[in-house]
């Protein structure tokens, strides 16, 4: 029960236990992890604005396995690019709002891991792979350099994801994203007439531009 145990640890204590080598997960383990992810989705959806996208089990499961392997690869520095590419394959399904939100249930922990990996070895294959993933899943990677606006099209078309995305940009004071022409009006709308008190730097920046 590596994966479900990892998930329990991640959500409850923040101190995770991993296997020594990347190995495929057992179906029973994956099923147990899916149950936990589904419960996590129901709990998290209460905090989402509007109506949160429905649970997408394959996406959620792919994401937690991706996170698991990323932690492993961060610790096991001797593993090469092949293993990285094998363990951290792209999501095979369609990037729908449901997939974005279900992936985010665990991907929201990846930015911290990316910073950690960058600190350990900025140029290694793991960091490069994570940066690609960050551009593919902008909803989960607020605070890291964004990709072209097209990557945000699906999430910005969904009211819940759009509002939660803007909330994260404001919460993390992600300047780079907030200043982008298609996002700045949304950030301004969220701050309303209180920009000067809620995010003074943003208000000042808008006055200058």
């Amino acid at each position: 029960m590596l994966l479900s145990g990892f998930l329990d640890d991640l959500l409850n204590t923040g101190a995770v236990t991993l296997g020594g080598q990347p190995v495929p997960f057992e179906p029973a383990d994956q099923a147990a992890a899916e149950v936990r992810l589904r419960a996590r989705h129901a709990e998290d959806a209460l905090e989402m604005p509007y109506v949160a996208p429905a649970f997408n089990a394959p996406a959620a499961l792919w994401a937690v396995e991706y996170l698991y392997h990323t932690v492993q690869l961060t610790l096991l520095r001797e593993l090469d690019e092949t293993v990285v590419a094998q363990c951290l394959a792209d999501f095979p399904g369609e990037t729908t709002p449901e997939a974005i939100y279900s992936v985010d249930l665990t991907f929201r922990y990846l930015p911290d891991l990316l910073r950690l990996a960058k600190g350990l070895a900025p140029g290694d294959a793991l960091v490069a792979r994570l940066l690609v993933t960050a551009r593919q899943w902008p909803f989960s990677f607020v605070g890291t350099p964004p990709d072209a606006a097209e990557a945000e099209a699906v999430l910005l078309a969904h009211p819940a994801l759009r509002q939660a995305y803007i909330d994260r940009i404001i919460g993390l004071q992600d300047w780079v994203r907030a200043a982008r022409p298609h996002l700045a009006p949304l950030v301004q709308a969220a701050l309303g007439a209180h920009a000067a008190t809620l995010w003074p730097d943003f208000a000042a920046f808008n006055l200058l531009t």
């Binding site: 209460l46 905090e47 989402m48 604005p49 509007y50 009211p159 509002q163 939660a164 803007i166 909330d167 404001i170 919460g171 969220a190 701050l191 309303g192 007439a193 209180h194 008190t197 809620l198 995010w199």
Partner: protein, 240 residues
């Protein structure tokens, strides 16, 4: 040798002794339906208060304890052995019965009056339906600075900044009390006193209405706003 003066009064004249309570050295006792006084010097002028007593007899006492009527050289009796008390003990003070009915301390009825002073809003009283609808979709940063409490009649009190743009009654904060916007205490100087009187432990928020009525909201009933807290509260009231 004469030592002191002795007076005899009827027992019914006890109240008149109140006038001589302040005379130094005076002692008194009661025996056989009569009041006895002693302790004044045998010679010299008597204090006016003593002279005003309705004494039935007055004597001068000699060293042998014999009683000489005032102005007489012949004793007529021996001073009986009595238990004497200082006059202040013999005639204790009593509080007088009030001639008029007692008056309770005047009660101040809190009254609010329209005020020309514009104060910054600190709270909003709105409805659960409006609040629930707003919290469902509002940006998170507009929620995190707020606390809320819901009454059984579905009124919602929101505290913090910025207040949401919702219909309702805005309130401002005066000495820890929430007053409706546009109103102030009729006697604003009493605000601090009133706060200490109504909320001595400073463990509640006092919410005033324009008619001067008020209600207490304990601080622990004011919850930090999260979308889930609002949604679960609304669900508890049957709103989905």
């Amino acid at each position: 040798m004469m030592t002191e003066r002795v007076f005899v009064l009827a027992a019914s004249a006890r109240e008149t002794l109140g006038g001589v309570r302040a005379v130094p050295g005076l002692q008194a006792t009661e025996a056989a339906g009569q009041l006895w006084l002693r302790g004044l010097p045998a010679t010299g002028e008597l204090p006016l208060a003593v002279r005003a007593l309705p004494a039935t007899a007055s004597f001068v006492l000699d060293a042998a304890g014999r009683l000489f009527p005032t102005g007489s050289l012949t004793p007529i009796a021996q001073l009986p052995t009595l238990v004497w008390q200082p006059i202040r003990v013999f005639v204790p003070l009593e509080l007088p019965t009030a001639a008029l009915p007692a008056q309770a301390a005047p009660r101040y009825r809190v009254q609010l009056a329209p005020s020309a002073q514009a104060e910054t809003g600190a709270a909003l009283l709105t409805t659960l339906a409006a609040w629930h609808e707003y919290a469902n979709t509002a940006p998170e940063i507009r929620l995190t600075g707020l606390r809320f409490a819901v009454a059984t009649d579905r009124r919602v009190l929101l505290l913090g900044t910025p207040l949401p743009p919702l219909p309702g009654q805005e309130h401002w904060l005066s000495e820890g009390m929430l007053l409706p916007a546009g109103f102030d205490f009729e006697a604003p100087m009493l605000a601090a006193l009133l706060a200490r009187q109504l909320n001595p432990a400073v463990d509640s928020v006092l919410l005033f209405a324009a008619d001067g009525s008020w209600e207490r909201i304990p601080n622990e009933h004011l919850l930090p706003v999260t979308r889930s807290a609002v949604r679960l509260t609304a669900k508890g009231f049957g709103d989905e």
